[in-house]
């Protein structure tokens, strides 16, 4: 998915970056929920959680960025325009690359979106 720098992308490439989104999302939620439950609710600060989430977000965004680059490469760096509907292995590869690139872009935005609340919320209220 992200690390497999292969010439031929398969269907797993399409779900690599949204899987990173899912793991990041789950981690954010679980960290905050467990912290607020265990440290006591209300005005308890979520400072440690914020540090963790910022770090995790950086890692997740880096993953998605790399997988986007990978997809861009499979697409052929934009040398060919869609619709990629020719009956050839090249167009099949370009199609998967292009779709994976779009999905990586969406995942990138969604990860950034998920992380935004920790910039504004400071405690467990």
């Amino acid at each position: 998915m992200v690390f497999a720098f292969r010439r031929e992308p398969d269907l797993w490439f399409l779900i690599g970056s949204p899987t990173v989104w899912a793991l990041h999302f789950l981690a954010c939620y679980v960290l905050a929920a467990v912290h607020c439950e265990k440290a006591g609710a209300g005005f308890v600060s979520i400072a440690p959680v914020r540090v963790w989430i910022v770090g995790l977000t950086a890692v997740a965004l880096a993953f998605v960025f790399v997988s986007g680059l990978q997809a861009w490469r499979h697409w052929g760096f934009g040398a060919n325009q869609p619709p990629h509907d020719a009956d050839s292995p090249e167009d099949r590869r370009r199609f998967i690359g292009y779709a994976a690139l779009l999905i990586s872009a969406l995942s990138f935005v969604a990860i950034a979106f998920t992380a935004l609340p920790v910039l504004f919320i400071t405690d467990c209220r």
Binding site: A32, A33, C36, E37, H84, R92, I96, P117
Partner: protein, 845 residues
């Protein structure tokens, strides 16, 4: 364009007629009472769709009852108690017996035609799914005639729904009836995922697949991760109701919120599980009526995959008012807004396609545009309620009722009706009439908005949902009256469609093949249709093969392409590779049989008898059901063919039997086990949820299961797993004795392992009715032990197959699949032991 594939010459007409006779015979639909043994997708798909529509009409009548009751203040037409049953059953039936199943049904009906396949890979599984759905559905719906329907709302919140006195038997009917139907959904997901990936026509690469296929693939994947949490929730819920295990009882360490989490982890993706296949219909309809290829094919794939994932990050937005910390709410609020991006992408793709083409405004297109308008409105109110502060105001009011109906009727029902008008020729060889269609559309469109638009205001004026009546003076009277009038106008539209469908179905069949001048393969079918679908399976090299090659229908009919014959009198279809659609196997499909129906009757019987606490009868029924399934598997799967390869036409020879990851059965096992894993991890989530909310977990004064027995169990079960790959290897080397010995060792070790696992909480005296901790430990241990028991059953099955000469060195599908099962059973055992033993040690409990 079929330019890449040379077109072979047509066989002479006498030979063609003979071939056709043989195909007819192999695919014959049985007559008389045996008709109900049919398993072909054209029959099962039709029954499935028809049954789901009948449930829809039933739930629609319930909706009208609701609207009559609410038309005027202080109405006494329905009692409060009966009203509770009516609205609960309305929601339940619409969601579980109509919206989800109909899309599986439509996919089963249409997918093979879209792929020019003869059928999907597991026809009997589809039939089993249908009968399960039918039995469970009739059971759940029928309860209202005995004043025993569920009455605690379609999401069954404890503590109300766990209170046996307050909720009566209705809650059990809901839990057990629907759990049984969820099995049918998972069966459909297995069938459709494997179908989309492996049953495409030769040459249909992944970038040429019809968009419907993409959506079905994504939705199949979503079902695997969305339905199992609900099944896990149902298990905990029934354990509380029937056995008094306090998972949701706050007095004994449980928490009602756990149910809300499990329900909505299912419930929110479910909205998209309903929405995506309907939008998939639009993705097929819009290009036809714009008479051009879709604009932004890859963007649709983005939207489908993106929505598929993001929809799993929305569940807590149903729980904004439960007092969770605002940081938690904010994550889900963010995801709820992010999901608007891929959803909107699809709408823009459709608009772009319409604008780029020459639009033909036929009835399907009318419903399609109506769908987009209504859905967009519902989507916008969705963004409003995704904002927690607004949701706190609107929560549990009629605003939410209005929002969800805009989303579901705009996103699901209108596209579905568009699909009914568009695909009626494929399903029934007949064309619905345009005039009644247009009248129906306007009645439905106007009626819908008249009924549901005012509800936003009724909600904002404070009317709570689910009240059976309301007093005068709150400014709700005329809004409710208008809604009720609208509901009946809407229903009149539906009635016209029903009348038109019945009238057309009784009329003469049409001859024209491609009435809409569509470009995709389902319009290749000859009329009247044959159960074997297209005459031959054509090679494909375009997204719209019929537009690319207008002669394709003639050449297909002339038996120039693949599978022109059924020489051996067997049902067959092509299996191709996932990425490029290269043909790799000629798959023999099972024929008609009553076994799937009987299996569904007895398995269903065991669920139904449990509802009435007839545990012995339930056990007997379940055992008979399992025995029938074994008989079905023994006689109908992994059949050794009379020859190794077969000429499938166009000079291509393909194997008839493949095993391991090349076989469809292996993929079915993998997919089923992914669903199984997500149910298991939902139970594990339950354990950690309890850990989170308790200061001491395991609670003080309770003996955790210790290390000794779970440790022994883990060692035995891991060892049982380890011998299975060895068994497979010995078999591959031709040692039947080695295979059997390893299988015997596996059965023995896993029996001992399961016993050791069960003795763990028993020995330390964990009493599951006392506290949520022992209860969840018991559930995990029972789950893992049941998996070991199922593993033993499979191992013994292989053992017997080996002795019967049905599992050999060359023909080894069974052992491959069972080894795959054991990988997952071992993970289950290991994670269970780690959770109940290592986690308490590590966290100092």
């Amino acid at each position: 364009m079929t330019a890449g594939h040379a077109t072979p010459p047509a066989p002479d007409p006498t030979l063609r007629a003979e071939q056709e006779r043989r195909l007819d015979k192999a695919w014959e639909t049985p007559r008389g009472w045996r008709y109900w043994s049919a398993v072909n997708n054209t029959q099962v798909g039709l029954w499935y769709t028809g049954t789901a529509f009948i449930f829809f009409l039933f739930a629609g009548v319930l909706a009208l009852l609701i609207r009559v009751q609410l038309a005027v203040p202080d109405n006494t037409l329905l009692s409060a108690q009966f009203y509770n049953q009516v609205f609960t059953l309305h929601g339940t039936v619409m969601m579980f017996l109509f919206a989800v199943p109909i899309l599986e049904a439509v996919a089963i009906l249409l997918m093979p035609a879209m792929y020019a396949a003869r059928d999907l890979p597991f026809p009997r599984l589809s039939a089993f799914g249908f009968w399960s759905f039918f039995i469970g559905g009739v059971f759940v719906c029928g309860s209202i005639f005995f004043n025993a329907a569920p009455d605690t709302g379609w999401f069954m919140y404890p503590p109300l729904a766990t209170d046996v006195k307050q909720s009566g038997i209705g809650a059990d009917i809901w839990l057990l009836g629907l759990s049984f139907i969820e099995i049918a959904s998972i069966a459909a997901a297995v069938e459709l995922i494997v179908g989309v990936l492996k049953c495409r026509p030769p040459g249909m690469r992944i970038n040429l697949m019809p968009l419907y296929g993409w959506y079905v693939l994504i939705v199949g994947g979503m079902i695997l991760f969305a339905f199992p949490p609900l099944i896990a929730g149902d298990i905990l819920f029934e354990a509380e109701r029937l056995l008094n295990w306090p998972f949701f009882d706050a007095k004994r360490g449980g928490d009602p919120l756990l149910w809300q989490h499990l329900f909505w982890i299912f419930g929110h993706p479910e909205v998209y599980i309903i929405f995506l296949p309907s939008i998939a219909l639009l993705a097929m309809i819009v290009p036809t009526f714009a008479q051009r290829p879709i604009v932004g094919y890859a963007w649709i794939v983005l939207a489908a995959v993106g929505t598929g994932f993001l929809s799993f990050g929305l569940w807590v937005h149903h729980m904004f008012a439960t007092g969770l910390p605002s940081i938690s709410l904010a994550f889900f609020s963010a995801a709820s807004e992010a999901v608007a991006i891929p959803t909107a992408v699809q709408i823009f793709v459709f608009i772009a396609t319409i604008m780029a083409g020459r639009l033909i405004f036929a009835v399907p297109m009318l419903f399609a545009t109506g769908a987009l308008a209504i859905f967009t409105f519902g989507g916008l109110t969705g963004v409003m309620v995704a904002l927690a502060p607004f949701d706190w105001q609107a929560h549990d009011t009629y605003f939410i009722v209005a929002h969800l109906h805009y989303v579901l009727i705009g996103g699901m029902l209108f596209p579905l009706i568009a699909g009914v008008y568009y695909y009626f020729p494929v399903a029934a060889d007949r064309m619905l009439s345009p005039r009644p269609g247009k009248i129906a559309f306007w009645l439905m469109f106007v009626g819908f908005n008249v009924a549901f638009l005012p509800m936003h205001f009724t909600g904002l004026r404070g009317m709570p949902r689910r009240v059976f009546t309301y007093p005068e003076g709150f400014g709700w009277e005329w809004l409710n009256l208008v809604s009720s009038v609208g509901a009946f106008v809407f229903a009149a539209g539906i009635a016209i469609i029903v009348i038109d469908v019945v009238r057309t179905a009784l009329g003469a069949p049409m001859r024209e093949r491609n009435p809409w001048n569509a470009g995709t393969l389902e319009w290749l079918l000859r009329r009247p249709q044959k159960p074997w679908q297209t005459r031959t399976v054509p090679p494909v090299s375009s997204r719209y093969p019929l537009w690319a090659d207008p002669e394709l229908a003639r050449k297909t009919d002339e038996a120039r392409y693949y599978l022109p014959d059924a020489e051996e009198g067997k049902r067959e279809t092509l299996i191709t590779t996932t990425l490029d659609g290269d043909p790799v196997q000629c798959l023999r499909l099972p024929g008609n049989s009553f076994k799937p129906m009987c299996a569904a009757i007895f398995i269903g019987g065991s669920f139904i008898l449990t509802t009435f606490h007839f545990y012995r009868g339930s056990l007997v029924s379940g055992v008979i059901g399992v025995a029938i399934i074994l008989w079905w598997l023994w006689t109908g799967t992994a059949i050794i063919p009379e020859k190794r390869t077969k000429d499938v036409g166009v000079g291509l020879k393909l194997p008839l039997y493949v095993s391991g990851s090349d076989s469809v059965g292996w993929w079915a096992m993998l997919i089923t086990m992914l669903a199984d894993m997500s149910a298991f991890f939902s139970l594990i989530f339950g354990y950690f949820f309890f850990w989170t909310i308790h200061e001491d977990f395991p609670p003080a004064g309770v003996d955790a299961p210790g290390v000794l027995w779970p440790g022994i169990a883990a060692i035995l079960l891991i060892a049982a797993w380890a011998v299975m790959p060895l068994a497979k290897r010995l078999n591959a080397r031709g040692s039947a004795a080695g295979l059997r010995a390893m299988l015997a060792v596996n059965a023995l070790l896993s029996a001992l392992g399961a016993a050791a696992l069960l003795s763990a909480p028993y020995v330390t005296g964990l009493e599951p009715t006392q506290h949520a901790y022992p209860a969840i430990v018991w559930v995990l241990v029972l789950w893992a032990a049941a998996h070991a028991a199922l593993g033993i059953l499979m191992t013994l099955y292989c053992f017997a197959r080996s002795f019967a000469g049905l599992l050999t060195r060359e023909y080894d599908i069974d052992i491959h699949n069972v080894v795959l099962y054991w990988h997952f059973a071992a993970i289950t055992a290991a994670v269970t032991v780690a959770t109940i033993v290592l986690f308490p040690l590590a966290s100092g409990g």
